[in-house]
C-alpha cells in the first residue's frame, strides 16, 4: 500500500469516525487525560447514603469502554496474566463466572478496574503495581465483553480459545445486577 493510499484510507476512516461520532477505533496516547463523565444510571442493590445517587463514573472509562484496541489488548492480557486460569473464558472456575449477570463488587468498568487493582478478600489478587493503570483499564474493558456489555461493533469476532465458546460479537448482553450502574 502506497503512503498516499494509506493517507487517503486514514482520511476516509477518520471521516467515517467523525460522522458516526464513534470512538471505537480511537487510539489514545496515555499522556492526555480525557475530561467529562458518563452519566451513571440506577443501581438496584447498593446503598448510597445521603441522596441515593451513585458516584459519577470515572472519566477514564470513556477511553476504554467500547474501544476496540483497548478491548483487544485486554483480551490478550486476560490470557497472559492468567485471569483465564481462574475465570476461564467467562464461565469461572477457581474464581467466579464473569459472563453472567452477577457482579459481587460491581460491573461498571471503573468498579471492575478497582477490583483488579485492589484485589478482593476471597482470593482475587491485587494487581496494582504489577500491571500499569492502562493495562488494568484495558482488562476491565475486556472483562465486560464476557457478559456482552460493550457494543458489538467494538468487540472481537474471535476468541483466543479453542472453538466452542460463543464469539463476543454474538454474546448476549446480560442485564447486570448488583452495582452496575452504567446502564448502557
Amino acid at each position: 500500500m502506497s503512503s498516499r493510499c494509506l493517507a487517503d484510507c486514514l482520511l476516509v476512516a477518520a471521516a467515517a469516525l467523525a460522522l458516526g461520532g464513534c470512538q471505537r477505533e480511537a487510539r489514545h496516547d496515555s499522556s492526555k487525560p480525557i475530561g467529562g463523565t458518563i452519566p451513571a444510571g440506577e443501581s438496584p442493590d447498593t446503598i448510597y447514603p445521603g441522596n441515593g445517587a451513585p458516584p459519577a463514573l470515572d472519566p477514564r472509562a470513556a477511553r476504554y469502554d467500547n474501544n476496540s484496541p483497548a478491548l483487544a489488548e485486554g483480551q490478550f492480557l486476560y490470557t497472559r496474566m492468567n485471569c483465564v486460569g481462574c475465570h476461564a473464558h467467562g464461565g469461572g472456575g477457581m474464581g467466579p463466572a464473569l459472563m453472567d449477570d452477577k457482579w459481587r463488587y460491581g460491573g461498571r468498568i471503573d468498579q471492575i478496574a478497582a477490583t483488579i487493582a485492589e484485589g478482593r478478600p476471597n482470593g482475587m489478587p491485587a494487581w496494582r503495581g504489577r500491571l500499569t493503570d492502562d493495562q488494568i483499564w484495558k482488562l476491565a474493558a475486556y472483562v465486560r465483553t464476557l457478559s456482552g456489555q460493550p457494543s458489538k461493533d467494538a468487540v472481537s469476532s474471535r476468541g483466543d480459545e479453542m472453538s466452542g465458546t460463543t464469539p463476543a460479537t454474538l454474546t448476549p448482553r446480560e442485564k447486570p445486577r448488583s452495582a452496575d450502574t452504567a446502564g448502557r
Binding site: 496474566m81 486460569g85 467467562g90 464461565g91 477457581m94 482470593g123
Partner: protein
C-alpha cells in the same frame, strides 16, 4: 513396546492358573488372617482372593479413626448388623448442619462415642456427643484460615479429612496449616504453617498419622507449586523431614537405599535432568491425595500429582518425580523405590489416588502388593517391596493410552490424541479427572473385590503457552469435557484384582465424586452428585437401598458402632469440588471451559441439586 490386549489376556490367564493351582496354600494363609473380630467375619470366604495385611488392617474396634479406616486404606467396616436382607429398613437416626455450602469431601470420624466433622473452608472442627440423644455438639474449634486461600484452591475449597491419633485430632487448613487439637476438650495443641498461599500453595489432603509422624502433602499442581510430602512430629508439630516431588536427589530424599525397579526410573538427579532448565522448580508433583502405611516394614506408599503446566510442550522430558508412586521409610523419609505410572503426563493424570495394601495368592504363599485404581485408567497391581508392576489393566473406556509394557514399566501414549500447539486433541478418554479422581475405592476382604467409584468422561484439549506468575494459575490449556461412550458418566466397578476383570458394574448418569464404603454385612455404600445415597449388594451390585439427601454427595461414607452397640452409617452431603463447582460456585456452563472443562460435562447438575452441608446418620430401627 506396548503390551497388546492379547498379551495382557495371556498374562491374565497365567495368573489365574497360578492362583488356582495355589489356592490350597492361600487357604491356609487366609484362615490364619486375624484381620477382624471373629464374629464380624463369620461369613468370610476362604477363597483365593486378595486380603489386607493384618498389621495394616487390625481387628475392627467399631471406631472410624482415619479416612481410609486403616493403614491399608481398605475403607472396610467389619460391622455386619446391616445386611442386604434388612437394609430396606435403614432409616435416619440424626442429622447435623455443617454451616457450609461448599464441596464436602471429608468423612466423619468416630472415636469412642464422639463424632468429629471437619468442614471445607473455613475448616471448622465439630465434636458431637454420640452418647446423648440427637448427638448434640460438644465443642467446635475454628482455625480461621486466611480467606484469600479460597482464591488459589484449584478445585473447590475442599478438605479431605481429619485423623485421630493418641487423643488428638489432626487436620490441615486450606491456607497451609497443620493443626492438632485435643480430642476431648477441643483445645489447640500445636499448629504448624507449611504452605504459602502467596505461591498458590494450599493443603486439602487428609494427613496420615503413623509411628509418631504426621504425613502431610501440598496442593497446587495448577499453580506452578513444587510438590512435597512432609513429616511432622506428632507430639510437637515440628518438621521431621520433607521430600520434594521434583528437583535434585537430596531434595527428593533419594539416597543409597533408593532401588527403583525399572531402568526408566534409575539415575542421578532425574528430578532435574528430565526437565528443561529450572522448570522443575515450578513442576508440580504435589501430594494432595492418599497415603498408606505398612507397619510391618515402616514404609509409606503414596503417589505424586501432575506436572505443571498442563501444556506438556513447555516441559519436554519425563518430568520426574511427578505422576508416579513412591515408597518411603516413614522415619527418615528416604525413598525406597519409585515407579512413574505416567511419564511426561499430558492429561493432568495425577497419581494421587488411594493405595490399598493387600496380600494376594502367589507362589506357595502370598505376595505383598499395592492395589491402585489409577487416574490414567489402569488398575495397577504392584509388588510393594520392589515397585514391580504385576499387572496394569484398563477398568473403563480408554483411548488416550495403548497399554503398559510390563517389561519396561512404561505406559504407551496414543500419539493420535496428543494436543499440540495449533492442534486440538479431540475425544481423549479418560478426560483430565481420569477414569477416577481422588474419591477412594473400598476393598472388602469378604469378597476380595475393590469397589471403584469412578467416572466416564472424555475431553477435547487445546494447549497454549502458560505464563508463570506466582500465586496465579499455571495451566496453559483449555479443556472441554463431556460424557464418554455408553450413555453414562459415572460407574461403580467391583474389580477383581487377581482375575483382572469386573465382577459387576453399576452405571450412574452423573459422574461419581463420592468415595465408597464396604461393610461386613455385605454392602457397598456411595453417593451421587444429585444427592442419592445408595447401598449395593457387595456380591451382585444390586441396588438394595437409597436415600435422597438435600445436596449432592461427594463425602466419604463411614460405618461405626454406636455407644448403644448398634451399627450406624454416616455421610455428609454437600455438592462441590471440581465436579460440583458448577453448583456451589455458580459457574456458567455456556463457557465449555469453565472449571477447567468440567462444567461442560455436568451442565444439567444445577437443575438437579443445590449447595448444602449436612451430616446424615442412619441406623436400623431398634
Amino acid at each position: 513396546m506396548a503390551v497388546t490386549g492379547e498379551t495382557l489376556r495371556r498374562v491374565s490367564t497365567a495368573v489365574l492358573i497360578l492362583s488356582a493351582a495355589l489356592s490350597g496354600a492361600a487357604l491356609v494363609s487366609c484362615n490364619k488372617q486375624p484381620a477382624t473380630q471373629p464374629n464380624d467375619l463369620a461369613k468370610i470366604s476362604p477363597g483365593p482372593h486378595a486380603l489386607p495385611p493384618a498389621a495394616a488392617s487390625p481387628a475392627d474396634n467399631g471406631n472410624w479413626e482415619m479416612p481410609g479406616k486403616d493403614y491399608a486404606s481398605t475403607r472396610f467396616s467389619a460391622l455386619n448388623q446391616i445386611t442386604p436382607a434388612n437394609v430396606a429398613r435403614l432409616g435416619l437416626a440424626f442429622t447435623f448442619s455443617t454451616a457450609t455450602t461448599h464441596g464436602y469431601e471429608a468423612p466423619p470420624l468416630v472415636v469412642d462415642g464422639t463424632m468429629y466433622l471437619i468442614t471445607p473452608f473455613p475448616n471448622n472442627l465439630y465434636a458431637l456427643d454420640l452418647t446423648k440423644p440427637g448427638a448434640p455438639q460438644k465443642w467446635v474449634f475454628k482455625p480461621e484460615p486466611a480467606a484469600a486461600s479460597q482464591g488459589v484452591a484449584c478445585c473447590g475449597t475442599v478438605n479431605r479429612g481429619a485423623v485421630y491419633s493418641n487423643g488428638r485430632i489432626i487436620f490441615n487448613t486450606l491456607d497451609g496449616q497443620t493443626i492438632a487439637v485435643d480430642a476431648k476438650s477441643g483445645r489447640q495443641l500445636w499448629r504448624t504453617q507449611l504452605g504459602n498461599i502467596q505461591k498458590g500453595e494450599t493443603l486439602t489432603m487428609a494427613p496420615l498419622v503413623a509411628n509418631g509422624k504426621v504425613i502431610v502433602g501440598n496442593s497446587g499442581g495448577e499453580m506452578g507449586v513444587r510438590g512435597w510430602l512432609a513429616a511432622l512430629d506428632e507430639g510437637s508439630g515440628k518438621l521431621a523431614w520433607k521430600a520434594y516431588g521434583t528437583g535434585p536427589d537430596k531434595d527428593v530424599l533419594i539416597g543409597s537405599r533408593f532401588k527403583p525397579f525399572y531402568p526408566m526410573d534409575q539415575g542421578k538427579d532425574l528430578g532435574v535432568k528430565t526437565w528443561p532448565p529450572e522448570i522443575w522448580k515450578l513442576g508440580g508433583g504435589n501430594m494432595w491425595g492418599w497415603v498408606s502405611y505398612d507397619p510391618a516394614t515402616r514404609t509409606i506408599y503414596y503417589g505424586t500429582g501432575n506436572p505443571g503446566p498442563w501444556n506438556a510442550d513447555q516441559r519436554p522430558g519425563d518430568n520426574k518425580w511427578t505422576t508416579g508412586v513412591f515408597a518411603r521409610d516413614i522415619n527418615s523419609g528416604e525413598a525406597l523405590w519409585f515407579y512413574q505410572t505416567t511419564p511426561h503426563d499430558i492429561y493432568d493424570h495425577d497419581d494421587i489416588n488411594e493405595t490399598i495394601l493387600a496380600d494376594i495368592p502367589w507362589g506357595n504363599g502370598r505376595r505383598p502388593v499395592l492395589l491402585r485404581p489409577g487416574r490414567n485408567g489402569f488398575f495397577y497391581v504392584m509388588d510393594r517391596r520392589t515397585g514391580q508392576v504385576l499387572s496394569a489393566t484398563s477398568y473403563g473406556h480408554m483411548n488416550g493410552y495403548l497399554g503398559v509394557d510390563l517389561k519396561t514399566g512404561r505406559i504407551a501414549v496414543n500419539p493420535d490424541k496428543v494436543p499440540k500447539p495449533g492442534r486440538v486433541g479431540r475425544n481423549i478418554c479418560p478426560a483430565a479427572p481420569g477414569q477416577k479422581d481422588w474419591n477412594p475405592s473400598a476393598f472388602s476382604p469378604l469378597t476380595g473385590l475393590v469397589y471403584i467409584p469412578h467416572i466416564n468422561l472424555c475431553m477435547d484439549m487445546a494447549v497454549s503457552p502458560a505464563n508463570y506468575i506466582a500465586g496465579t494459575p499455571f495451566v496453559g490449556a483449555d479443556v472441554k469435557m463431556y460424557g464418554g461412550p455408553g450413555g453414562y458418566r459415572g460407574a461403580v466397578t467391583a474389580w477383581d484384582p487377581i482375575a483382572r476383570r469386573a465382577a459387576w458394574e453399576v452405571h450412574e448418569d452423573l459422574p461419581i465424586w463420592s468415595p465408597a464404603l464396604a461393610t461386613g454385612g455385605g454392602l457397598v455404600f456411595y453417593g451421587t452428585l444429585d444427592g442419592w445415597f445408595k447401598a449395593l449388594d457387595a456380591r451382585t451390585g444390586k441396588l438394595v437401598w437409597r436415600f435422597k439427601a438435600g445436596s449432592g454427595i461427594i463425602g466419604q461414607p463411614i460405618s461405626y458402632r454406636g455407644p448403644d452397640g448398634r451399627q450406624y452409617i454416616a455421610v455428609v452431603a454437600g455438592v462441590g469440588g471440581w465436579a460440583g463447582g458448577i453448583v456451589d460456585s455458580e459457574l456458567d456452563p455456556r463457557d465449555p471451559t469453565a472449571a477447567l472443562g468440567f462444567a461442560n460435562a455436568v451442565k444439567d447438575l444445577p437443575g438437579k441439586t443445590t449447595p448444602g452441608g449436612m451430616l446424615y446418620v442412619f441406623a436400623l430401627p431398634r
